[in-house]
């Protein structure tokens, strides 16, 4: 069943001196339970595309279908992990993680149980009572991930969630992500600039072209799981992604 479909998405932005065509007709079909990694040159429009899917931005042309119905607004079935965190500075770490649950009216004890599980997973238990300005960048990002996972959405939209993490923590989370996905069979769109990450996580890798971007190639990933970041067997596939990407970066 098709979970998400992007049809000819076009998006312009106004800059003082010129008009910028960021997305130039993006087409993408994501089946239920697929894990699609989006890669592309910096500034090509990956974040913009994710925001459109989340319903936070309106495309100038084209539309997003979710379960066959056009997306017009944002909703808790499509949860986004923002590239820059967007944690609430007035809430403690635990309250940040529980935010969506609270909005859904889930009682306090139950919330605490759920958030505890994800705080443990993200190794943040010790900081449950801290405020976000007291965290390091990587810790903030882990809070943002926990906050999204807690929502248990149909579709998870992740914008470079592991970018600020150290290699070790990331490796742990790469394994964790695969387990979560296998267990829940969520549909995931995952933006990354790390081809190894894409190869480890995705059922598919979508390569964006340079601006005005389209999806240049959608590559299925056919390796058995669990995959590890250090798997040498993934290297040829990574090279394949890179060879698609290289000419795009040169252009920009």
């Amino acid at each position: 069943m098709t979970k998400l479909e992007a049809k000819d998405i076009v998006k312009y932005f106004k800059h003082d001196s010129h008009k910028l065509k960021a997305l130039g007709g993006v087409n993408l079909k994501v089946e239920d339970g697929e894990f699609v990694c989006l890669v592309g040159p910096s500034g090509c429009g990956k974040s913009t595309f994710l925001r459109i899917v989340a319903g936070l931005e309106i495309p100038d042309e084209g539309q997003i279908l979710f379960d066959g119905k056009p997306v017009t607004t944002t909703g808790p079935e499509r949860i986004m992990v923002f590239q820059e965190g967007a944690l609430f500075p007035w809430l403690k770490v635990q309250d940040n993680v529980e935010f969506g649950l609270k909005m859904a009216g889930i009682p306090k004890e139950e919330r605490a149980q759920i958030s505890k599980r994800y705080l443990d997973m993200m190794q943040l238990t010790k900081f449950a009572d801290s405020y976000t300005y007291q965290l390091s960048t990587g810790m903030k990002q882990r809070v943002a991930i926990a906050r999204a996972l807690v929502m248990d959405p149909d579709v998870l939209l992740m914008d470079e969630p592991f970018a600020a993490l150290d290699a070790q923590t990331r490796d742990l989370l790469l394994v964790e992500m695969q387990l979560i996905w296998e267990k829940t069979k969520k549909t995931i769109l995952f933006v990354t600039h790390n081809v190894a990450e894409a190869a480890v996580l995705g059922t598919h890798v979508a390569v964006f072209s340079n601006r005005p971007s389209k999806i240049k190639k959608l590559m299925p990933v056919n390796y058995k799981r669990p995959r590890l970041a250090e798997d040498e067997s993934l290297l040829p596939f990574q090279q394949e992604i890179l060879s698609e990407l290289r000419p795009e970066v040169k252009k920009s």
Partner: protein
């Protein structure tokens, strides 16, 4: 550390009083224009002794409280509406700006017409003098919220009242505090101004008596009391609130 600050403050005020006394001894200005701190102090002791000062303070503060509660309640609601509902901003918003530019004293004749010479009239002048400051600051605060906060919250299912209470208000709080501070300052000025013009009990009334009798030292004495109450309320209530919020936001 804290003691140190306190000592510095005390020293500063002592210096001011001493300089003032020296000035008035020097007789650059005649005494009826520029009374000495001693005379002012005498006046204070006198009005404290016969109780009229404390009665005046009590009356004014009571009116302040009622007026301020109305102003803050109304201002916050109006400000949020203006910031979030474009049509409200375009219509009522422009009216608010106009009303904001009418000085409290100008409302006095109408207040007397509509409410008579009652506490309600004074409270009306107080509240109407403060409400628009709160409104405008709340509006600015809500407009200045990092858009990611709102997007993230909506994405996690916050809407309507929840969005307002869980995100808009806390996120706009640093601005709103300054709105409250100003609202309270406007309200305090409004009370005193209204009492001065209504000449109906309270500190403003005492100020008016001083003026009517051309008693400059009483005028200055009451102004000092008004200032001191201003500083105390600000220090006890608003400073703490602000410090708390600032440190929460990592701004200290």
């Amino acid at each position: 550390m804290k003691k140190n600050i306190f000592l510095k403050k005390i020293a500063f005020y002592i210096i001011i009083v001493v300089v003032w006394q020296l000035f008035s001894i020097s007789n650059i200005w005649p005494n009826n224009i520029f009374p000495s701190p001693y005379e002012v102090g005498e006046d204070l002791v006198f009005s404290a002794a016969d109780g009229s000062l404390f009665f005046g303070i009590g009356t004014s503060i009571l009116r302040l409280l009622v007026g301020l509660v109305i102003a803050i309640g109304g201002g916050v609601v109006l400000g949020i509406f203006m910031a979030r509902v474009e049509i409200v901003n375009q219509t009522i918003g422009s009216l608010v700006l106009g009303l904001q530019s009418i000085p409290s004293v100008a409302w006095v004749p109408l207040a007397i017409l509509w409410f008579g010479l009652t506490d309600a009239g004074i409270i009306f002048v107080t509240a109407i003098g403060a409400i628009f400051a709160v409104t405008i600051n709340t509006y600015t605060g809500v407009k200045n919220i990092n858009p990611h906060f709102v997007e993230a919250a909506r994405n996690m299912g916050a809407k309507g009242t929840q969005l307002v209470t869980s995100v808009l208000i806390p996120a706009a709080f640093p601005y709103m505090i300054s709105g409250f501070k100003q609202g309270w300052a406007f309200a305090w000025r409004g009370v005193i101004g209204a009492e001065l013009l209504f000449s109906f009990l309270g500190l403003g009334f005492l100020l008016n008596v001083g003026r009517q009798l051309n008693d400059v030292s009483q005028v200055i004495a009451i102004m000092l009391i008004i200032m001191i109450i201003g500083v105390v309320i600000d220090g006890v209530i608003f400073k703490r609130l602000e410090d708390k919020v600032m440190s929460r936001w990592g701004l200290r």
